[in-house]
């Protein structure tokens, strides 16, 4: 131990300032030990089983000895060697036991300061502070853990320092204390969110469940009966009813999981506007509180899924630059559920000069309708035709035809695009209707693409490239060819040569994405 402290002292002497940093909360060593245990659990278990043989008590003792004790010691040493301090111009973190590391984070580079409390951390009254910066592939700094009050104070300090240093929001430092509540979700909202969430997941779970279920005895029975040449007998046995019940059970379980997930994960969800930041907080067992600087918002997606549309519900997601590899690549939930009428008001909190109600979306080219109907007919022929041949009944085709026609019509009607003032808006999707809103000055480029089928029909699509959101980018689908090129030219006109800041990204990130 004394040797470890000695190396700390020498590291500190080499530092640019002689001020010693602060330590984390003493309970930190527990969480560090837990991390070590998680990392080495499998090898330790292997060692325990091979050493202890059939005696469970001996196995446990070996695991505790080779893993538990060293992990606690390591946790304590790492806790002792971890120092951080907030200077005038940087957050400086010294960490590492074997390899010492100093990380210097300038406040103006900070994207997001997140406060996270897992269940155990809540019990102990401590919290993790996670600092994200543009361009870092992972969280730049994790301070785990601090006393809750200290964590709050540190976050306020980091954010106000960033606001003071950042040219984008000079006035924000004073406004920081004033919080405007935008959204507060109660249990009823969350029930609605969970009950209508993720129908694609439900369907997938249902199919997987059925496959699992059909897999063994039932499939065997069906095959045997079919080989006797009597599908009627399957029906008589009631296998279909059993399968239907199984599907219903799987859907019911998936549905319950989704509801419970929403109730726990988004418990007491609040979204506030604090100065030049959005702050959201949620969670029942663990609390997550994160900050999204408005200046970093690249785009917002309004998602209205098939289940939510008739209920007039929608969800909002926001994409920010420089958080690749996280939560569906740079796009974060902003509001898990809201009424459609409230969407314009919420958007106005992020984009004050946007008038979504007045935006007239231009439809896709009429020729796109033909393309969508042809696509629907192809799907119908493949799926419905196949089922018809397999069952020897016309029903799948008869039922499928109107569904395919409706889907093609709905797909066409969902599509739209517009350049409205300083914003670009695109919309598409039947299962999940997504409306993108991108500030024109955040557009990173315009890409016109034309598949062979589109070329035949003289159509083309325009991708509106943004710096957030990963692979998913706003697209205006199936415009007339000339319209597509004209719109792309319009998108590329950046009226921002004087001032409006683009994205601050180091070259490494541009290459990663």
């Amino acid at each position: 131990m004394s040797c470890a402290t000695g190396s700390l002292r020498s590291a500190r002497q080499a530092s640019r300032s002689d001020m010693p940093g602060e330590r984390l909360h003493p309970a930190s060593f527990l969480f560090i030990a837990a991390r070590v245990v998680r990392t080495f659990l499998i090898p330790a278990a292997v060692a325990g089983v091979s050493g202890g043989g059939g005696d469970p008590a001996l196995v446990l003792r070996i695991i505790v000895l080779v893993l538990g004790v060293p992990a606690l010691v390591w946790g304590f040493v790492e806790y002792l060697l971890f120092r951080f301090r907030l200077d005038d111009d940087a957050l400086v973190v010294d960490s590492g036991v074997l390899r010492r590391q100093r990380r210097v984070v300038r406040p103006q580079r900070i994207q997001n300061v997140e406060l996270r409390q897992r269940a155990l951390q809540r019990l102990l009254g401590v919290a993790e502070v996670r600092v994200e910066t543009a361009g870092a592939g992972e969280t730049e700094v994790v301070l785990a853990v601090l006393r809750r009050a200290d964590a709050d104070a540190l976050r306020v300090q980091l954010l106000s320092r960033r606001a003071a240093l950042s040219a984008a929001a000079p006035a924000a430092a004073d406004a920081d204390r004033h919080a405007d509540r935008l959204v507060r979700l109660g249990s009823r909202d969350l029930l609605r969110a969970g009950a209508t969430a993720n129908e694609a997941g439900l369907i997938a779970a249902a199919i997987a469940g059925v496959l699992q279920f059909v897999d063994e005895p039932v499939a065997g029975a069906i095959v045997r009966l079919l080989s006797d040449g009597a599908l009627e007998r399957v029906l008589a046995v009631g296998a279909w009813i059993v399968i239907a019940l199984g599907v219903a059970a799987v859907i019911a379980v998936g549905w319950l999981i989704s509801i419970v997930g929403a109730l726990v994960g988004y418990h007491a969800f609040t979204l506030e506007r604090v100065g030049a930041d959005l702050r959201k907080e949620h969670g029942l067992l663990g609390r997550v509180s994160s900050t999204i600087p408005l200046a970093r918002v690249q785009a917002i997606r309004v998602e209205e899924s098939l289940l939510r549309r008739p209920l007039g519900l929608a969800a909002l997601k926001v994409s920010t630059a420089g958080r690749p590899g996280r939560e569906s690549r740079g796009s974060t939930m902003l509001v898990p559920i809201t009424r459609r009428e409230q969407v314009p008001q919420l958007l106005a909190a992020v984009f004050p000069d946007l008038r979504l109600g007045e935006v007239q979306l231009r439809p896709a080219h009429p020729r796109a309708q033909r393309k969508l109907y042809v696509r629907g007919a192809l799907y119908l022929a493949l799926l419905g035709g196949g089922a018809t041949l397999w069952l020897g009944s016309m029903w799948p085709l008869l039922v499928g035809a109107p569904v395919a026609a409706w889907a093609a019509r709905a797909a066409y009607r969902a599509r739209g695009y517009a350049r409205a003032g300083a914003y670009v808006v695109t919309r598409a999707g039947v299962l999940n209707r997504v409306t993108w809103i991108v500030p024109a000055r955040r557009v990173q480029g315009a890409h016109v693409t034309q598949s062979p089928i589109q070329r035949y029909q003289r159509l083309a699509s325009v991708i509106v490239d943004t710096a957030g959101g990963g692979r998913q980018q706003p697209v205006a689908l199936d415009l007339g060819r000339a319209d597509a090129h004209a719109w792309a030219e319009q998108l590329a006109e950046t009226q921002d040569a004087r001032g409006a800041a683009g994205v601050l990204l180091p070259p490494e990130t541009a290459r990663d994405q």
């Binding site: 991708i463 490239d465 950046t494 683009g502 290459r511």
Partner: protein
Amino acid sequence: MTGAEMLDPRVKAVWRLSYLVRAGVVAVLGSAVAVIADLPPAIWVTLALVLAYGAAAFVAPGMSYRRWSYAVREQDLVLRRGVLVRSTSIVPFSRIQHVDTQRGPIERAFGLSSVVVYTAGAVGAALVVPGLDAARADVLRDRLAALGAAGEPV
């Protein structure tokens, strides 16, 4: 403002050679699998792939060369390319994060070089203008870098 420019015609040879190299690699790997794993059908698959690459080597370079063009305009860079899926990319200079030149071994053998334009976007994260004479590529790189720097401070 400059009109659309074509790539250096030598790029066709570069593309052709890279298709042939791929055909060679497939031939070697495929025969190895067929012999070592004792899978005679692998020979037919290999043969089909080699023939496909061989055919592509003769047809594709000419077609993509005719489709490829780029233009450095007043405010932006425009790339047009693609035989099956055609695409036109417009990147305003102010969105260029940085510009590289890169040279693969085959390109180097022909005295060619590629210019890579990086943006913060996801789709246009790295846009490649291949097959430029090395000197011309350096000029284009420096010009784009200067134009990008003259725009907004990113």
